[in-house]
């Protein structure tokens, strides 16, 4: 994978498209990401990231927010979140 593909523009506004829904379900024991004919279990960190992907906040702002919330180094958060969001975008489960 080339360098450019693994960078997300700071002014991108990530959002879950129609047909991809983050829901909390008691019976299934927590948060799940519902997508076309598949269901993903969403761990606590994924939930914090996806909750912020509303199409309003920019990628840079989301990273700033997460770095503050988790009191973690910004570069580390950016790298991890880039991987996560890129993975979802590649599956057409996220718009960047």
């Amino acid at each position: 994978m080339n360098e450019a593909a693994s960078v997300i523009a700071p002014d991108a506004r990530p959002r879950l498209p129609r047909g991809v829904r983050l829901v909390h379900n008691e019976a299934q024991g927590g948060w799940v990401l519902l997508a076309p004919e598949r269901v993903f279990k969403a761990d606590a960190i994924s939930v914090e990231v996806l909750k912020r992907c509303t199409g309003e906040a920019t990628f840079a702002a989301i990273i700033d927010d997460l770095a503050t919330a988790f009191k973690a180094p910004r570069e580390r958060i950016q790298a991890d979140v880039t991987t996560m969001l890129r993975g979802l975008a590649d599956k057409r489960l996220l718009e960047l």
Partner: protein, 374 residues
């Protein structure tokens, strides 16, 4: 983030040594067995439910509410052709109102653009449209319906206009498997975000037409290689889902995610099945939503209990390391091919009956299709 969600919300082992009860994730709602198409690979049973026995709108609404209470996350609106129901919009609205994810599985024949607009307004989350081939004449021949191909193209365009995600489902068999690349190209051209390379599985009408549908080993090998190439080529553009066809595999599929474990099927007349082919196994007692609440059926229906968990297994399944991965494969297939629903699915290379599958995989008959008709 983990794949294949659904932690076991209910961990309690039931009294009397019964199998652990999971929460179902998906419900397949066969709204009707009416369908204008006659695809020879249809997985509906040969004995189709007549229109007079179909559940009404209110009953489906109740079933959805009960499903949501049980932990179901996704409803697959299917059939037959769900578009044949005049109350499809009300049914979809009812599912959406329960917070359920709604997936419409359609041939596109029977759903107008106007209906799709109304469905979108009711919160429809996803649409799956089948394609029978990449080229019109062949596609309509396989579907047994002239004009089907054109209708699918038209409805796909509307789905995309409405920004509802689109999956193209391509059932693969001998007549179209060599057109796999073109079919994926068509899925892309239609604006699909996913394409399912769904090799025909032999139940119902597909079983009846098996030798007319069975691809050769060479075709299957080439198809697998093509899928890998296309995945590399189209990475990030479209998701290509494909599974090795059963009869050409060494390991069995984890059928429906395990019997009575992750999904359930409600037939047009209201019978609740652990899987769409379960009625092919003799001696199973099925309960109906007309008489029982869904939670009661899920937990207590004899048909659901029959192969839930692993206690019913024999060797080699019982002590197999893959026991909780593929659950011994498919019960219906084991019955169809060996006469014993508790047998290891002969698709498994460890099954005593594996040679049956190998023999059948080599049978290709160029005979006319027995089209699926009510």
């Amino acid at each position: 983030m983990a794949r294949n969600a659904g932690r076991d919300a209910e961990q309690k082992p039931m009294a009397g040594g019964e199998a652990k009860l999971h929460s179902p994730l998906g419900l397949l709602a066969e709204l009707t067995h009416r369908c204008p198409l006659g695809c020879p690979y249809c997985s509906n049973p040969l004995a189709l439910d007549p229109r007079s026995e179909e559940l009404d709108t209110q009953t489906w609404a109740r079933v959805f509410k009960e499903a949501a209470g049980l932990g179901v996350l996704q409803i697959h609106l299917s059939g037959g052709e769900p578009g044949a129901r005049r109350d499809l919009v009300e049914i979809t609205a009812a599912a959406h109102a329960c917070g359920l994810y709604t997936n419409l599985i359609t041939s596109a024949v029977g759903i107008t653009a106007a209906t799709l607009h109304k469905l979108a307004e009711c919160g429809l989350d996803h649409v799956q449209i089948s394609i029978q081939d990449s080229e019109e004449k062949s596609a309509d021949h396989i579907a047994g319906y002239q004009g089907a191909f054109a209708r699918k193209r038209a409805l796909a365009a509307t789905v995309v206009d409405l920004k509802i995600p689109l999956t193209v489902n391509a059932v693969m068999h001998r007549a179209n498997i060599d057109h796999l690349e073109d079919m994926v190209a068509l899925a892309l051209a239609l604006g699909a975000s996913r394409v399912e390379i769904a090799h025909a599985q032999y139940y119902g009408w597909a079983l009846k037409n098996r030798s007319a549908l069975m691809p050769t080993e060479e075709q299957v090998r080439r198809a697998a290689a093509t899928v890998e190439e296309l995945r590399r080529k189209h990475h990030g553009e479209i998701v290509i889902d494909a599974v090795v066809p059963d009869y050409h595999a060494r390991l069995p599929k984890p059928c429906v995610g395990g019997w009575g474990r992750r999904s359930l099927n409600v037939t047009p007349s209201g019978k609740v099945l652990p899987c769409h082919a379960a009625e092919s196994i003799p001696g199973l007692e099925f309960w109906s939503v007309r008489e029982h609440a869904l939670a009661d059926i899920w937990a207590h229906s004899p048909a659901f209990k029959a192969f839930r968990g692993t206690d019913w297994m024999r060797e080699p399944c019982l002590s197999c390391a893959r026991r909780d991965i593929d659950f011994g494969g498919c019960r219906c297939q084991a019955f169809a091919l060996t006469g014993d629903a508790r047998a290891t699915d002969p698709v498994c290379h460890l099954a005593p009956g594996h040679d049956i599958v190998q023999r059948l995989a080599a049978v290709q008959d160029d005979v006319p299709y027995a089209y699926r008709r009510q």
